[in-house]
C-alpha cells in the first residue's frame, strides 16, 4: 500500500473516532441538564447556554455544525472554563506527551535488556525471577504503585515532590509508575520475541558457520526479534495514554489525562472531543510511523514503490 493511501486511511480513522465520540457523548443525555439543575434554573438561561455551547437542534444538526467548525479550525468552547477548547487542551497536551514519551523510553530501557537476559537464560533461575516480577508488575494497579512510590520517596525519604510539575524531579515518580507497569508487559514480549528468534534456522546456520555469539545476537537474533516488538509498541503507547488518566490524577500532573477525567465529570463535551481527537491523532501518527519502520525492518513487506 502506498504512503498516501495509508495517510488517507489515517484520516478516515480520525473522522470515525470523532463521529463516534460525538454521538456517544450526546446519546448519554442532555449535557445542559447535567450541568444545571433544570428545576432551579430559568428556561431562558438554559436556552442561552445551549446557544452558547452549540447544543441546539437535533444531534445530526449539531454534528454538521461541529464538523464544519472543525474544518474552519474552531473546536468549540469549554463550558468549564469558558475558553476555547483548543487552547485548554493544547496547554495540557505537552505535559502528557512528555510523561508518555519518557515512560515509553523507560519501558524500553527496562524491557529490552531484562527480556533479553531472561530469554538467554530461559528456564533458568534468572528467567523465573524476571517472570515472577513481571507478573507482579502488570497485576499491580497503577494507583497502588503510584501511592507506594509517594509513600516511599516523598513521605518517608523526603527525596521527591509528591505532586505537581516543573522540575525533572517532578517527572520521576509518574514516569516510574507508568514505565514500570508497561515494562512488565513489554519484558514478556521481548523475551518471547527473542526466544522465537533464537529458534530460527538462520541462527542455527550462523552458529554452524562459526559466527560469534555476540554477532549472532546483534545481527541475526535482534533484527528478527524486532519485528513482533515493533508491532505491539503502539498498543503499549496507547495503554500508556490510558494509564495517564489515573497516574496524572495521583501525582497532580497537569496533563490531558487528568483533564479528560475532569471534563467527563463536568460534561464539558467540547474539551472531551478535543482530547479524544488529539489522542487519536497521536495514535494514528504512531501507527503510521510503526508501519513505516516495519517496512524498513522487514524487506519482505516493503511498501510498493510509489513511482
Amino acid at each position: 500500500m502506498t504512503l498516501a493511501l495509508r495517510i488517507l486511511r489515517g484520516f478516515l480513522s480520525l473522522w470515525l473516532i470523532v463521529t463516534l465520540v460525538f454521538v456517544a457523548l450526546r446519546a448519554t443525555g442532555d449535557p445542559i441538564t447535567a450541568i444545571f439543575d433544570p428545576d432551579n434554573t430559568p428556561k431562558a438561561a438554559l436556552e442561552a447556554y445551549r446557544q452558547q455551547w452549540g447544543y441546539t437542534g437535533t444531534v445530526f444538526d449539531q454534528y454538521l455544525v461541529y464538523i464544519s467548525n472543525i474544518l474552519h479550525g474552531e473546536f468549540g468552547f469549554s463550558s468549564m472554563s469558558n475558553r476555547d477548547a483548543y487552547s485548554v487542551v493544547m496547554e495540557r497536551l505537552p505535559a502528557t506527551l512528555q510523561l508518555v514519551g519518557c515512560s515509553a523510553l523507560l519501558m524500553m530501557a527496562i524491557g529490552i535488556p531484562v527480556g533479553a537476559v531472561a530469554a538467554l537464560n530461559s528456564g533458568g533461575r534468572l528467567d523465573r525471577f524476571v517472570m515472577t516480577f513481571s507478573t507482579v508488575g502488570f497485576a499491580l494497579p497503577n494507583f497502588v504503585l503510584g501511592l507506594a512510590l509517594i509513600l516511599l520517596f516523598s513521605v518517608n525519604l523526603r527525596l521527591l515532590p509528591s505532586n505537581g510539575i516543573g522540575t525533572a524531579a517532578h517527572l520521576i515518580m509518574p514516569v516510574l509508575t507508568i514505565g514500570i507497569s508497561k515494562a512488565a508487559i513489554f519484558t514478556r514480549f521481548v523475551r518471547s520475541a527473542i526466544l522465537d528468534a533464537l529458534k530460527l534456522t538462520c541462527v542455527t546456520s550462523a552458529r554452524a558457520r562459526g559466527v560469534s555469539e555476540w554477532q549472532i545476537f546483534w545481527h541475526h537474533v535482534i533484527p528478527n526479534a524486532m519485528l513482533p516488538l515493533v508491532t505491539i509498541t503502539p498498543l503499549l503507547v496507547g495503554a500508556m495514554v490510558a494509564a495517564s488518566a489515573v497516574v496524572e490524577t495521583v501525582f497532580g500532573w497537569p496533563g490531558v489525562g487528568r483533564l479528560i477525567v475532569e471534563s467527563v465529570a463536568q460534561r464539558d463535551l467540547a474539551v472531551v472531543q478535543m482530547i479524544v481527537m488529539m489522542i487519536a491523532l497521536v495514535m494514528i501518527v504512531t501507527n503510521l510511523l510503526v508501519d513505516l519502520a516495519y517496512s524498513k525492518l522487514d524487506p519482505r513487506t516493503a511498501l510498493a514503490p510509489a513511482h
Binding site: K199, C202, S205, A208, R209, H219, P223, P299
Partner: protein
C-alpha cells in the same frame, strides 16, 4: 559393529562416530539415538538415510553440537581429529569455522530474511580475513558466489533471500558453508524443499565441489534415489539405530536388513512396462478447453498487463477410469488448474466442462478433492468416525446404521482397518491420515478425484500404500483421478496419461508409456533426466546441455 575397527592409525577417516547415544530429558532420559557408529573416510560421499523420526537429522546436528535442546550424549564423535563434544566453547567455534561446513534443508529459512545476501557473506568472510578491506571482502564474496555458479554474483549481494529462488538460495548457503574451506560438508536434506530439476542441479553442484575441493560429504536424506545415484557409502537408520551400513553398490544390490529392503523397494522407479500407446476410449469426465488465467501482484500490474500466467490456452481431458498426472514445477500452474476444476478459481477465458456422470447420464459428475497436507484438512479435535459421519449427514444420510456400514466399506476401500475410526487425527500416522482424507472424499461416491500433491508430506513407504490405494480406486471403482504432483516417480508408477505444464502451458500430453520412452519436449526431457534413482545411460552431457537451455533457476524477483 558395522565396519571393522582395525583400520590403520595413519587416519584417512575424517569422521568417526563411536557408539553415539542422544537422549533428552533429566531424571529419566528418553533415548532418541542409540549406539550409532559409523566412519567416513576422506573423499567419501556418505549418505545417512531413514524416514522422518529415524534420528538422522539429530545425528548430523549432534556432529556440529547444534541440537536445539540440552542432550545427554553417550559415545564420541571425532571429526578432523577433534572430539566434538569435549571441545570448549572457543575450540568449538573454531571447529565450526574450519573443520566442517553445513547446509540445511530449507535454504530460505537458513538465511536471515531481514539481511541481504551480501551482508551475511561478508560477516562470515570477516571471520577468515579480519584484516581485509571492504573491496577485498566484496571481491571474495563475488568469487564465492561464482564458485557455486550464481549468475550476476555482484548484483546478488544486494538482494534479500526472499527475492531469490529456492535453488539460488541453496547455492548461496553452500557458498557460505564453504567460505572457511572445510574439508567436510554436512548436508541435511539439502534438496527436499526444492523442485526436482533444481534438486538435480544442486546435487550436481555438490558433486562438482566435491571433486574440485576434495570434499568429503555427509548427505542426510530420505530419498534413496539420490543415494543410489551419488553416494559411495550408506548407513540406514531406523528408530534411532543403524540397521545396515556399507558400500552403496553392495547394499543397493542386496540389502540385508528387512527395513532397508523395504525402503529400497519403495523408492525404486519402475519404468512403466505398459505398452498401450493410445488412450482408453472411456467417457470424458472433465475437459479444459483453451483456459486462460493470469494473476496480478498488484492493481498497477493489472493495469499494465504485467501478470504471472497460471494458465495459457490450457487444454486437456480426464477420462473415466484413468489417472491423469498433471506435472510441472512450482509456479507452473498445476494447483491453479485444480482449483479451477473445482470451481474455486474462475478462469479469465476458455471453458472448463464438467461432464455428466459417466455412471448415470442424468446426474452431474461428482468431483472431490484431496489436499496436500492431510493433517491440516482434518479437524484435530474430532474423532475420525465423527468427521466421516458429518460428511454424510450434511448430504442427507439420516440413518446412522446405514452411514456406519457405508463408512466401514469406504475405509476398507482405502486399505484401512476399522480401528482408525475411533481415533483423533493426532493418533494417525501420516499415511493413515492421508487415507482418511481420501476416504472422506470417497464417501460421496465421486466419479472423479482431484488430488493435489497427496504424497509430498509422507515418507516413501507410506507413499507406496497411498499409491496402491489410488490404483485400487481406479481399477475397482473406475474413478477418474487428476493427480497433481512434481514427483515423476509417482507418475511412472501409476499414471495413465501425463500432462506436463510449464508457465501455464501444456508442453506435453501423452500416454505414460510414450512419455517415459521419448518425451519430445526439451523441458520434459530435463524433468525426466532429473529423476533420481534411475540408471542413467550417460551421466555427463546432461549438465551442460540442460543448463544452457534452462539457466539454473533464474532469479525470481517478487514484490
Amino acid at each position: 559393529m558395522g565396519l571393522s575397527m582395525t583400520i590403520d592409525a595413519t587416519d584417512d577417516r575424517i569422521c568417526r562416530v563411536e557408539n553415539l547415544g542422544i537422549a533428552i530429558g533429566g531424571a529419566t532420559p528418553v533415548p532418541l539415538v542409540k549406539d550409532v557408529s559409523f566412519e567416513i573416510r576422506r573423499g567419501d560421499y556418505f549418505a545417512l538415510v531413514g524416514e522422518s523420526g529415524s534420528g538422522k537429522s539429530l545425528t548430523c546436528h549432534s556432529m556440529m553440537r547444534l541440537l536445539p535442546f540440552q542432550p545427554k550424549i553417550d559415545g564420541r564423535i571425532i571429526i578432523d581429529g577433534q572430539d566434538v563434544w569435549s571441545l570448549n566453547h572457543k575450540q568449538l567455534v573454531n571447529f565450526r569455522r574450519k573443520s566442517v561446513g553445513m547446509v540445511f534443508q530449507d535454504p530460505l529459512a537458513a538465511l536471515n530474511p531481514v539481511r541481504t545476501i551480501g551482508s551475511q557473506i561478508l560477516e562470515t568472510l570477516k571471520i577468515y580475513y579480519p584484516n581485509a578491506d571492504d573491496d577485498e571482502l566484496r571481491n571474495r564474496a563475488i568469487q564465492a558466489l561464482r564458485e557455486v555458479h550464481i549468475p550476476e554474483p555482484g548484483a546478488r549481494l544486494g538482494v534479500y533471500p526472499h527475492q531469490l529462488s529456492g535453488g539460488l538460495n541453496q547455492r548461496v548457503m553452500i557458498a557460505l558453508a564453504l567460505l572457511g574451506e572445510p574439508k567436510f560438508l554436512i548436508a541435511d536434506e539439502p534438496t527436499t524443499a526444492l523442485d526436482m530439476s533444481v534438486q538435480a542441479e544442486v546435487l550436481d553442484l555438490i558433486d562438482e565441489l566435491r571433486r574440485k575441493n576434495n570434499l568429503t560429504v555427509l548427505l542426510v536424506t530420505h530419498d534413496l534415489g539420490i543415494v543410489r545415484d551419488r553416494a559411495t557409502d550408506i548407513a540406514v537408520l531406523q528408530l534411532g539405530r543403524i540397521v545396515e551400513q556399507g558400500r552403496t553398490a553392495e547394499i543397493v544390490r542386496a540389502p540385508k536388513a528387512a527395513y532397508s529392503k523395504e525402503l529400497f523397494e519403495a523408492s525404486s522407479v519402475e519404468w512403466p512396462g505398459r505398452n498401450e500407446k493410445t488412450r482408453k476410449a472411456t467417457p470424458v469426465c472433465l475437459t479444459f478447453d483453451r483456459v486462460n488465467k493470469t494473476f496480478f501482484a498488484s492493481k498497477r500490474d493489472r493495469r499494465n498487463g504485467v501478470g504471472i500466467p497460471a494458465a495459457k490456452d490450457l487444454s486437456f481431458t480426464v477420462r473415466q477410469g484413468e489417472i491423469v498426472a498433471l506435472i510441472g514445477e512450482s509456479g507452473s500452474g498445476k494447483t491453479t488448474a485444480a482449483k479451477m476444476a473445482m470451481g474455486l478459481e474462475k478462469p479469465d477465458s476458455g471453458a472448463i466442462i464438467v461432464h455428466s456422470s459417466p455412471r448415470d447420464a442424468s446426474k452431474k459428475l461428482n468431483m472431490q478433492m484431496v489436499f496436500q497436507h492431510p493433517r491440516d484438512s482434518l479437524d484435530p479435535l474430532m474423532r475420525v468416525e465423527d468427521q466421516l459421519h458429518e460428511v454424510l449427514k450434511v448430504h442427507g444420510w439420516r440413518d446412522r446404521a446405514v452411514r456406519q456400514e457405508h463408512i466401514l466399506k469406504t475405509i476398507a476401500d482405502v486399505g484401512l482397518g476399522a480401528h482408525v475410526l475411533g481415533r483423533r487425527p493426532t493418533y494417525l500416522s501420516g499415511g493413515e491420515a492421508q487415507r482418511v482424507v481420501i476416504a472422506r472424499a470417497l464417501l460421496l461416491e465421486p466419479d472423479m478425484l482431484i488430488a493435489d500433491e497427496p504424497l509430498s508430506a509422507v515418507d516413501v513407504r507410506i507413499q507406496k500404500h497411498i499409491l496402491e490405494c489410488l490404483q485400487r480406486l481406479r481399477d475397482r471403482l473406475g474413478i477418474a483421478i487428476l493427480l497433481i504432483t512434481h514427483d515423476l516417480r509417482v507418475v511412472f508408477e501409476i499414471a495413465d496419461q501425463v500432462v506436463v505444464l510449464r508457465h501455464g502451458r501444456v508442453v506435453e500430453d501423452v500416454p505414460v508409456s510414450m512419455f517415459a520412452d521419448g518425451a519430445r519436449d526439451a523441458y520434459t526431457q530435463m524433468l525426466i533426466e532429473a529423476v533420481p534413482g534411475k540408471i542413467r545411460s550417460s551421466k555427463q552431457g546432461r549438465g551442460a546441455a540442460m543448463t544452457a537451455a534452462f539457466p539454473g533457476g533464474a532469479a525470481m524477483v517478487t514484490g
